[in-house]
Symmetry: D2
Subunit: 342 residues, 4 copies
Amino acid sequence: MLIVMKRDASKAEIDAVVERIGALGLSAIPLPGAERTAIGTFGVAAREYADQLESLPGVAEIVLVSRPFKLSSREVRAEDTVVRIAGVPVGAGQPLAVMAGPCSVETREQTLATAKAVRAAGAVLFRGGAYKPSTSPYSFRGLGPSGLELLSEARAATGLPIVTEVLTPTDVELVASHADCLQIGARNMQNFSLLDACGEQAKPVLLKRGMAATVEELLLSAEYILAKGNPNVILCERGIRTFEKYTRNTFDINAIPLLKKLSHLPVLADPSHGTGKWYLVAPVALAAVAAGADGLLIEVHPSPDHALKDGFQSLTFDNFEKLMAMLPAIASAIGRPVAAAA
Amino acid sequence: MLIVMKRDASKAEIDAVVERIGALGLSAIPLPGAERTAIGTFGVAAREYADQLESLPGVAEIVLVSRPFKLSSREVRAEDTVVRIAGVPVGAGQPLAVMAGPCSVETREQTLATAKAVRAAGAVLFRGGAYKPSTSPYSFRGLGPSGLELLSEARAATGLPIVTEVLTPTDVELVASHADCLQIGARNMQNFSLLDACGEQAKPVLLKRGMAATVEELLLSAEYILAKGNPNVILCERGIRTFEKYTRNTFDINAIPLLKKLSHLPVLADPSHGTGKWYLVAPVALAAVAAGADGLLIEVHPSPDHALKDGFQSLTFDNFEKLMAMLPAIASAIGRPVAAAA
Amino acid sequence: MLIVMKRDASKAEIDAVVERIGALGLSAIPLPGAERTAIGTFGVAAREYADQLESLPGVAEIVLVSRPFKLSSREVRAEDTVVRIAGVPVGAGQPLAVMAGPCSVETREQTLATAKAVRAAGAVLFRGGAYKPSTSPYSFRGLGPSGLELLSEARAATGLPIVTEVLTPTDVELVASHADCLQIGARNMQNFSLLDACGEQAKPVLLKRGMAATVEELLLSAEYILAKGNPNVILCERGIRTFEKYTRNTFDINAIPLLKKLSHLPVLADPSHGTGKWYLVAPVALAAVAAGADGLLIEVHPSPDHALKDGFQSLTFDNFEKLMAMLPAIASAIGRPVAAAA
Amino acid sequence: MLIVMKRDASKAEIDAVVERIGALGLSAIPLPGAERTAIGTFGVAAREYADQLESLPGVAEIVLVSRPFKLSSREVRAEDTVVRIAGVPVGAGQPLAVMAGPCSVETREQTLATAKAVRAAGAVLFRGGAYKPSTSPYSFRGLGPSGLELLSEARAATGLPIVTEVLTPTDVELVASHADCLQIGARNMQNFSLLDACGEQAKPVLLKRGMAATVEELLLSAEYILAKGNPNVILCERGIRTFEKYTRNTFDINAIPLLKKLSHLPVLADPSHGTGKWYLVAPVALAAVAAGADGLLIEVHPSPDHALKDGFQSLTFDNFEKLMAMLPAIASAIGRPVAAAA
C-alpha cells in the first residue's frame, strides 16, 4: 500500500502518517519525490487500514498494491486444484467437463428426458434448478423440494452426478443431501451468509460470478468458502452486464485465462447466461474452450419454446448434440481431451 | 408485448405464433407492415411467456412494453405513501428525514457519542450497522447481537428510532426485535429469501439499490416485500458502479425524480456510499434534496481516521453539523421544510 | 509510480528493473517488503514508461500514482479560472450562467423565437446547433453554414452571445467567425485533431465529457486545448452511459464537486442530455446548481413535439421559465446569485 | 415503432397521436389493450419521429422495433461480403487473415524487422501506426508522414499490404496514398466527418468498435461509409470498457457471432487491445477464431519493454510465432483454413 501525500503536505503531516502506521504495528517507508512524498507500507494486513489512513491530514490518496485474496491465489498455491464431483474430475489437465440440463426442473418427464439426452451427447454432469431466483415476485420460482426429488431420480436413471442451486443458508443442508455439487448463483455471489454456509459443508461448490462483479471480487467470494474449510470451489464465468442491448450479458472471455493465471481453482464457462441467445451459445462455448476453460455449463431443454424460464437461451437436444460433436476438435487443438460419457 | 417477426417469416410461421398466443389464453393482434409483420399481445401476464414466444420459428425479437411492477407503481396507486419509523414520517409532503450514524457500531462510547451528536445537529433517525457485509472474509464483519444492544441503548439515550441492516433471513426476527426499521443492503437487493422474510414482518424496510441494478429491478425487489403484505418500504439510491475511478460509486441523481415519478414510495439518498469520498458528501446531499429526495442517509463518525469501516466516506461531527445547517435553505427553495429535532 | 515485483522475483530481476529506471534518467527507490519487493519512481515523466517497465521479467504490475493532467489541475493553479464569453463571465464566484436554446437550428422563426424566449426568462447565452452529430447517417445533420447565419441573427436580435458546436478541424475557422464560444461534443471529446484546432484559436471552448469517459480523461482532453495556448476552457458534465434503461444517460452529479476540486476550470451541467427526459430536466438542473455547477446548459424548443432532434429532452418556453424562476432560491441557498438578463 | 399510451390517456389524446402519425405520412394502427392502448407504426422512416411523438400528451413511451441499419444488414444483403486488401481476401469462407505489426512505427529498423518477422510467422497483412491517438497531449503521437514512408518501405521489403490508422479527414488523402487499408480507431468510431471522408475514397476501411459503443452503433457507423459508396468495410471488435480492473478492456466475444449474424461484413478480432495484457492475447485470439472471426489483429514488437506505446499488450516475435502455430488446428476445428504466407 502506498500513501500518497498532497503536494503541499507539511513535514508534520508526513510524520503523523508515519507514526500512525507504526502505531498499527506496520512498518512505514517514506519515499520523498520531486513533486510530493509517498509512504509505503506492505502486507495484506495493511489494506484493512486504508480508509483510516486516507482520512489523515495531508493524505492525497491511497494506492493498494497487494492482492487481497490468499487461499484462492496461485501465488499461495501454485499447483492446480482438481475438484471431483462424485468422482467426476474438473480442473486443469483433466478432460473437459460438460454439465448440462434445463434452467428449471419442471416435470418428471422433462427432467428425465433431458438427463438422458445430455448424457447420450456426452455430458458428464447434470444440472437443473429446483430453487430459482427471479427478478419479479410474479415469476416462476422453482418446484422446491419436489424438484430435488426429480433430480435424484435423474441421477439414478443416468448415473450423472447432480449440480443444483441453493438460494439461502437454511436450505443448504436439504439441497446438499440431494446434490453432488451446490451452485451459488450470480445474484448471491456476495450473499456472505450463504458463502459461509456452503463453506461449512462438504460438497463441492460451483460459484458463479456476479453480473457486475470484478474478478477480484469473485476470488474474494471464493475465499469465504475456502476459509471455512471447503477446498472444492469451481469458479464460473457467466457474463457481465454491459451496455449491449442485443445480448443479455457480455461473456467475459478474458476472465477465463485471467482466472487460470491468478488462481489454482477450476474455471467453468456458462455461455447460456453469458449470451442469453441460443444461437450464440455454440460459438461462445467453443471460444471458452479455446481460451482454456476447464468445462462448460449449457442449458438444454426438450422444447425451449415451452420452457418456464430462460427458454430463449436453451439449446434443443439436437443443437446440444451438434455442439458436443464440435468440442473434441477444439479441445485437442489446445491439447485437451473431452471427457468420455460414463 | 410485441412479437416482431423476421422479414422473411412465412404466413405459416405468423399463424403459428398467433395460435400459440391464443393457446396461452391471451389475445393476439397481428400488425402487418411494409417490411415485416409484428404481433401485439398485452397485459402483465404476457411477459411471462416472452422467452417461449421468442423461441418460435420466424420470430426476430420480442419487445416488452408494459412495466412489470404493480404494487409499487404510481399508476396503480397515485397517492404518495408515507412510511412512519416509530412515528417519524418519511415521504412526500413530510419534512426532510435525515438518518445518520456510523457505518459500523464499534464501541459503546463511539455509538452513544455519535447518536447524541447527530441528534443535536438535527437528525431524526439513528443508523448504524451491527451486521456488516464485507467483500473480503478477512475484514471486520460487525459486532452482531452486542451491536444491537448498543443501538437499543443509543435509542434510549436520545429518543432517535434505530435503522440497522439485516443480512440473512434467520436474523430477521432478532434484528426486528431491536430495530425500528430494517435495512436491506445493496448486495442483498436480489436476495429474494431475505426480501420475503422482511415482507413477512411488520417493521418498515429501507431497501437499497444494488450497485448494478436498474430502477426497474429496484422496484421489482420492493414488489417482493409489498407482495408479502408489508407496505412500508423506503427506496434508497446509494450510487451505482461505473468506470469512474476517482469516486467509489456514481450517485444516480436522475433516479431520485424518476423513482418519485414511477412509484408512490418514499425515496432516500445515501451520498456517503454514493460518492465514497467525505469531501463530496455535502454537495451531493444538497443536490439530492434539490432533486426531491424525501430524506438523507449520512455516515458520521467521531473520528473517521479510526473507523473500522468506511472511514473515508464518513463525516466528522463538525462537518455533519455544517451540512445540516445548509439543508433548510435548499429544502425551502423547493418548498419543503426540514424536520425539527425532537 | 510503483513497480510491484512478483513474489518470486529474483534479485537479478529486481536489479534489472532498477537499472532500467536509471537508464531512463529517473531515480529508483527499492522497497523490500515481507511478501515482495516494490520499486518506486516518481514524477509525471515516469508514466510514459509504465508499459515498458511492466514488460520486464519479474514485474507483477505497475501502479500509477501521480495524476497526468497539469495545466488543468488545481494543484498547479489554485485560483479559479473565470472564462468570459463575449463578456459574460462563467466560473466560481460569478453569477450562475444559464445557456439555453434548441438542440438544432431548424428555421429562422424557431431560432429567433427561442432566443427571445430564453433571454426573457433569464438565460445569458444562446446555444443552438448548426452542425449536428448523428448516430445514423439517415438522420438530420444540421443546416450547416445557413444555421450559423441564423445564430448570428439571433445574437443581433437579443444581444445574447452564441455557443455552437464544431465537428471537424476544417470547420473551426468558419464556426469561430460566427460563434462566441465553440462547443466540442461528447462524441468528439477524444477527437484530438479537433482539440488541437480549438486550442489554436482564440474563442472560448465548451468541452463536453464523453459518454464513457472518466473525469481524468475529460481533464486530459482539456489539457490538449490548454497546451495549445487557449486558456478559456469550460468543462461540461452531460451524463454517462450506464445500464439504466429508463433514462438516456446517467447524470454524474459527483463529477460537479469533483471537477471543482481537481481543477480550476469552470464546470457546467447539461441535464437535458444528462437525463434525456424533459420531465427530469428541472430537478436535475436544481441538483446540479446545489452541487456547485457554475452554470447550466438547457435545451429549449418552441414545440418539442415538432423538433427535428432531441425533442423529448427539450423544455417548452413555459417549463423553461418555471425552472428559471426556481434557480435564484437554490443558488442563494449555497451563496451564489443568478445572472441578471442583460 | 410502438407508441405506448399512458393508462389514463384520453380518447382525444389517442386520436391526436393517430392523426399526427397520419400527418407525417405514416400509417397508424391502434391496439387497444386491457390496461392501455398502444399505437403501431412501422418502417425505418418512423424512427426519425420517435422524439416528436414521445412528446405528445398522453404518450407513456416509445418502443423502437425495426433496426436502423440497412446497407450493412444481412436482412438487406444475405451473402457474405469479402473485402480484398491489395488482393488479400478477408471474409467468410476465406482463410483466416492475420494482420500484425507494432502499435506505432518507431524506427526503420524496428518496422522492417517486425514486418519480416510477422510475415515469416504467417501474417498476410502488416499493420502499424504512423498517426497515434493519445489520451494525454504529453504522450507520443506517432511519426506522421515519415512513418507512412517506413510502412511503404516495409511493404516493398515483404510484399505485405499495409493497414494504418487515419485520425482526421484532412489526412485521408495522404494516408490513402500509402496504405492499402485505412483504419478508423475506436475513439473515432463516431467521428462522422472522418467516416464520410473514408466513404468517399476507394481503399478498404477497417472500422474499430468504440470502447463504449453498442453493436448497433458500430453498424450505424459502418453505414456512414457504405452510404458514401465504399462497400469495403471490415468490422473490428477490440474490447469494451467495463468495471474490470485487471484487464484494460473486456473483449466482447459475443460480438463476433452476433455481428456475423446481423451483417454480411467481415469481422476481425483485436485481442491485443481487447485484453491489454500480452499474456492474455493468445488464449483470446484462439477464442475469437473458434467463435468465427474472419481474422485477427495482433500487436507485435521486437522488444515490448522498449516500445513507445502499448508495449505491455504486444507479443514478442517468439510469442507471435507460437500463437500462429496454434491457429491452424483451431481454424480447421471449425472448418476454416489459415491463409498461407505469400
